[in-house]
């Protein structure tokens, strides 16, 4: 699905990356532990997190992920949004909690597009099989 679909499904506000809404994402990961994201995520995709700091954006950059959704109504400070904008990361913000955010995206088909089972680790839904 596209980043614009993610924003619509999560009733999310686009804080930066308005020019990236047509980009495709194929997987998602919901986690507040960045080390788990670094360990388990395979495909470029969306990170859903309730953690707000600049390391969230750096983690995305390391993983070549292009979209972050801050959940539970958490609003990132301007510096983080700017850093994301400078580095080509779209920032969305939703009032929904983690469970419902992941559930809505999963039900809409994110991470299931290739028809294989999502990876069971770390609450992540990957399009590919895990190791």
């Amino acid at each position: 699905m596209k980043i614009s679909d993610v924003a619509r499904i999560l009733d999310a506000r686009v804080m930066t990356g308005g020019d990236m809404l047509e980009q495709e994402v194929h997987s998602a990961c919901g986690s507040d532990m960045m080390s788990d994201v670094l360990a388990y995520v395979k495909d470029q995709g969306v990170l859903l997190t309730g953690l707000i700091n600049v390391q969230v954006i750096r983690t995305l950059l390391m993983m070549d992920m292009n979209c972050v959704v801050f959940i539970r109504g958490k609003v990132p400070p301007e510096g983080i949004v700017e850093f994301a904008a400078d580095n080509g990361v779209a920032v969305l913000q939703t009032e929904l909690p983690m469970f419902e955010s992941c559930g809505r995206l999963y039900m809409a088909g994110l991470g299931r597009e290739c028809g294989c089972d999502p990876a069971p680790d770390a609450g992540c839904a990957n399009g590919n099989e895990d190791e």
Partner: protein
């Protein structure tokens, strides 16, 4: 590695917000040189975990990147407390990071295991009270 390209970065240990700067820069450099994308990602993730470790545990240190025709070496050197048991530190989930670091999204005990997972070869040279040097090797 006498004919290696060499880049040096100071890893600032005073400010957690700065952790990862060297990895972001290295990633850009490797992309300019034309290193394959998957290799770049593995290097960036491993180096990033290393940088985070240096900031959490060792008040920063030095990061050096050496690139030859067929290998890349990332060398991370600090004068921190050293690793008491490398065997334990290599277990997923084992962490000595303080609680405030966990609140920042790290300290889950995945640092060293991730560095091993995302390198072709890893060497740890550590001495308690003296410091730690970690080498991450990649074949091109």
């Amino acid at each position: 590695m006498s004919e290696a390209l060499h880049y040096h970065f100071d890893v600032d240990g005073a400010n957690f917000s700065n952790a990862g700067r060297a990895s972001v820069e290295t990633k850009k450099l490797l992309r300019q040189i034309g290193v394959p994308a998957e290799t770049i990602r593995r290097i960036a993730v491993a180096m990033y975990e290393g940088e985070i470790n240096m900031v959490i545990h060792a008040h920063g240190g030095d990061a050096d990147v050496y690139i030859t025709e067929d290998k890349i070496l990332i060398q991370l050197r600090d004068e921190g407390p050293g690793i008491r048991s490398v065997e334990e530190a290599m277990k997923e989930g084992f962490s000595t990071a303080p609680e405030n670091i966990r609140a920042l999204g790290f300290g889950a005990g995945m640092g060293l295991p991730n560095m091993k997972r995302y390198s072709d070869d890893m060497h740890i040279d550590t001495k308690v009270g003296v410091g730690t040097t970690i080498e991450l090797w990649y074949n091109l």
